[in-house]
Amino acid sequence: MPKILVIVPFALDEAGVARRKNQLKAVKLDPQSEFHFRPVKAGPTSFMSPHDWTLMDLAIFEAGAEAQAEGFDAVCIDTMSDSGMAALRSVLDIPVVSPGRASMLFALTLGSKFSVLAQWPPAIVRYKKAIAEYGLAQHCASVRSFDIPPDFDALLEGKQESAFPRMLEVCMRCVEEDGADVICLGSTTMHQAAAWLAERLPVPLINPGPLTYKLVESLLALKLAHSRACYPRPQAPKLPMLHAMLDAAAALSPAMRPSVVAVSKPPPEK
């Protein structure tokens, strides 16, 4: 039975991890597959600047670096930023799947132009950078935000009434004004809105986390993994150093609690 490690990109406590794990319910999976969710030991508390991106790359890399030795058959990364994916692929032979590039490529199997729904304006720059890097700019109709600051712990919980209709309105602009054939949810943290939006949109909506679970099952069944020619192994791996770095960082900051994520909480509603 395949054992799959899902790396949660923030140092969340149990309740926070459970909210991520709910993504499993959105898709029919092989009953034999076992998904284990593991948060990073330490990392950024926001995700909007190159400082945050670098920390997250490192944190995710560390969380999954031993996955193969631990007996996992594959790794999923629970962030559209694809943070840590390239580094993990360089040290692992098992499939490592992350939803950013994968959901854009998958979108192109369903239509010819996709839009990405971003959480808030500061998130947009990173999508633009990634889309250019992936060579998909011509296929991207737009990146639009619904302008509500993210909460990486509570996600959209309790915000259904305020957030969902705004998300829908922005998706409809992507379709009607920008010409999107497919909408990519810009973050796995938006998963609680996926079913609600999908029911109301005239185009397919990609829920990135569940997509990675099916892609991992597909790759395992097809006996495929990333190309070693694209992700060469390090000549001198320094994984013990990597682990020591993250252990030291974890000792400094406890698992993320609501008080710690306050920096990314929305302003009080008027």
Partner: protein
Amino acid sequence: MSEENRRAREAQLQVVQLDPGIDFHFRPVRAAPANYTSEHDSVLADISIVDACKNAQAEGYDAVCIDTMSDSGLAAARSLLDIPVIAPGRASMLAALMLGERFSILIMWDRWRHLYRKTIAELDLGARCASIRSIGVAPDNQALLAGKEDKVFPLLLEAARACVEQDGAEVILLGSTTMHQAHGYLAERLAVPVINPGPLTYKLAEAALALGLKHSRKAFPKPLAPRVDLIDAMFKDLRP
């Protein structure tokens, strides 16, 4: 197509672990071009595949896979059907980019090149395609590679190695589902992933069903005046 030759296609199911709750039915088209080497053939291929699947939804099917890298009939079938319709051409190039940055396509003969050029142009993936290499052996779309293993497999391996070592391919695509019998041989011997296009479509169909996803109606609008009857009439009394 004879029952034996149809089974040579169906054998693609054996190389991949599939959901035991899913039934795959292999149906040959009612008439077809002799091969896929010119625009004459492409048009006939399109209509023959649309004919074969035009009623799939009404017949109770949950999804359709099209067994050709040319993606023949894909767009028209999607415009008619609300169930997922999957073909391996576009899909295997996009899947390759989930595993590496550059892919090469391994083909039997040069007469197939136009098929991939069209898809690569549509997807604007020219910069991602390291090469298309042919072994210069005329394909047999009925018996496939049966009986030609000793001659053809080493030629394919040699060409694939040239794709990797000389052209910079990080992923190899088999250029046709009719090459599936060579997949295991090549995958064992190459240092990069080799995509077997038919089995990929079976897993993508499973994924589409599990995720509740299908093609975008905006990209594949329904016809205002569908003439499924007309397509049916073209094939009904045809004796190819």
